[in-house]
Symmetry: C2
Subunit: 403 residues, 2 copies
């Protein structure tokens, strides 16, 4: 333990971290899947005490409806943490998991207890908690958090079936993304940080039309029907999770264009909970004041409809929050670096890191608006949170040794 602790650093790119990742292959795997359909059960938890603290992942929850840009968000996050995220090598090609040097992202659809046929039979949607195995979700997230590998089921989105499980070893940062990361209180309590992607109905509709009509050939009516069919369960089981989120990214129609219903220009809010350990909200100009800022003027000439930022304190489900808002979109790099230079508490490692990240993924959806900007910022805040936790763990034995 002391040797490993001595290696622990506050950097995601520490040599210790690499060693511990590799070292993990020799450890025992915890697999206890409960699969209603296949009936397979791989026995109870065989716990294995992992003593090296750096191997205990920081666990992040990301909640959002399907098709709301979670995968883009994940690619932005893992890019900030370092390295590209890819599906597990040599495994199930339909795996929903993404693995990078530092981060493993699992999709909570893998904890569906009912497959597509099962849901149809029972008349429940995937949003319904009855279609999901929260006991298993809790046990496996807990195991990972304690540094133990798991055998996680795979929900095959192509076939709609539950495929044989895959082994997941504890990464530095473990992200659970999907419909219900904050639904179950036990799972919620395991999260070191949680994010809710809140897409307004107007924008969700515009996006679904673009994706499902243009790319998948669905009809307008069928899209409308599918949204409406999901809405009761969404409102009952998904939406209420946002009250637990440490950060909410809210995507709304622009207010810069009167009566806009195109959904192309977006107003995006980053709602940051106050008083969250290791998380210091970003602010604009003056922490705790209410500010609006139109950077287009003498220094920047933004094209129509321009860009407008707002920042200020607020309450959100009874919690004190700070809200940063961006309406409009960037035309050019100099606008982005100018905005970055006026934001504080960004947790960047060098001047211009936000801009660099945004440029690196200029082809990702939302790179010219608040969704990309705030996803990138959340990535930086999580990296910072991770590094603070690791530093704290590294200090803890040293402090103990002094006594």
């Amino acid at each position: 333990m002391a040797i490993c602790s001595a290696h622990t650093t506050t950097s995601l790119h520490s040599p210790c971290a690499t060693v511990s990742n590799t070292g993990f292959r020799q450890k025992q795997v915890i697999f206890f899947t409960s699969n209603r359909r296949s009936g397979r059960r791989h026995g109870g938890a065989r716990t294995f005490q992992v003593s090296c603290s750096v191997e205990k992942p920081v666990v992040i929850g990301l909640a959002a409806d399907s098709g709301c840009g979670k995968s883009t968000f994940m690619r932005r996050l893992t890019s900030v943490f370092g390295g590209a995220a890819e599906p597990p090598k040599g495994g199930n090609p339909d795996s929903n998991t993404l693995i990078s040097d530092t981060t493993t992202v699992i999709c909570l659809d893998d904890y569906h207890s009912l497959d597509r046929t099962g849901r149809k039979e029972k008349g429940v949607t995937a949003l319904d908690p009855r279609a999901n195995n929260f006991d298993l979700m809790y046990e496996q997230v807990k195991a990972i958090k304690e540094g133990q590998a798991i055998e996680k089921p795979i929900y095959n989105h192509v076939t709609g079936l539950l495929d044989p499980p895959e082994v997941i070893t504890p990464p530095k940062i473990f992200v659970i993304e999907g419909l219900h990361p904050m639904f179950d209180e036990r799972v919620r309590d395991l999260l070191d940080f949680s994010i809710y992607l809140d897409i307004s109905d107007e924008v969700k509709f515009a996006w679904k039309i673009q994706r499902d009509m243009a790319e998948r050939g669905h009809s307008l009516e069928s899209i409308q029907a599918s949204i409406e069919a999901r809405k009761p369960d969404f409102d009952a089981f998904i939406d209420p999770q946002k009250q637990y989120a440490d950060a909410v990214i809210e995507v709304l129609p622009t207010q810069l264009i009167p009566d806009d219903n195109e959904g192309k220009v977006l107003r995006v809010k980053l709602i940051m909970k106050e008083g969250v350990k290791h998380f210091n909200p970003v602010y604009l100009f003056d922490e705790g004041s209410s500010i609006s800022w139109v950077p287009c003027g003498r220094k920047l000439t933004c094209s129509y409809p321009g860009i407008k930022f707002a920042y200020g304190p607020d309450t959100y489900f009874g919690h004190e929050v700070s809200v940063l808002e961006m309406d409009g979109q960037f035309d050019r790099l100099d606008e982005l670096i100018y905005v970055e230079s006026h934001l504080s508490n960004l947790s960047t490692k060098f001047y211009g890191e936000v801009t660099q990240q945004m440029l690196k993924h200029a082809d990702f959806p939302g790179s010219n608006n608040g969704t990309g900007l705030f996803q990138t910022i959340v990535g930086l805040k999580i990296r910072d949170l991770y590094e603070q936790i690791v530093a704290e763990r590294a200090d803890a034995p040293a402090e103990a040794a002094k006594v």
Copy 2:
């Protein structure tokens, strides 16, 4: 000249400046008053070339309607420049002039060519250019600017008569305040900096009621009638001067209280012309952007209706300007120092100087709102302008000597 220049410093409190002020008593006095009623005429200009550049005053014009807080403004200005302003010692007790260590303020009413009776006879108001001697105003301001003393007439506000003239020697800063400092193009061209105090009709009415009803026992009807009687001449001769001002202080009713007509809470704008030599507009957070700022939040708890600042670029009579706006009023010192700490280009000599000045004169009208704040800021900007001009003059012979 070289000796004096060597003494010139950029500080208002330089030893050279004191010497030159005292030395002035030995110089010749320029007096050429043209007084229609008395018929006195004190001969032509006997010019006296003053070689020490520091003795040539910086000339400031302040335009405003009578009873619009000019005297408070002047006391704030002279306080910033150093020393209290008092009427000339041993002179006419009804003199309109104020003299401090550094500054002489003359009232342009002294250039009335018609006294009260004369105006009545001719049926013109004091606002009418025909009631004022712009030739004399020009000649005397020019003489002062060239470092020559003058014999300036005195308009006696008590008797309504033109009293015998008083001698005015060139100060460091010469302020001409009154109805027409920017009306005559020749006088206007002599101004190094000009300010227009623009009180909206609603606020003017509320103020006049307070002063003339409460303090002077006038009736509401007579106040209304007097405002309306002045309005055509005011609109024709006074108001148009604001297009020439380098800075305008605009006083409006608050927007924080819906449908407010009490006129107690004020919204005040400081409109600063861009591209004025030696004048670098104040800004809030980000120069050239459009900003609104409510500092009441987590750090300050302002009482109802709070305080709201705004800043941004605009155009004013075809000129590019920067506008700083304050709506509401200060309750306490910490609000003021907090605001000061977020303003840039204030031209203070130390952190907190604005707050110190405001506290020093907490009993002056407008000390808790934008009028007092912006008058103080304008004072600081003029001091800075003066010091830049003096420094430039000091550098000029040194530069010439190098060639």
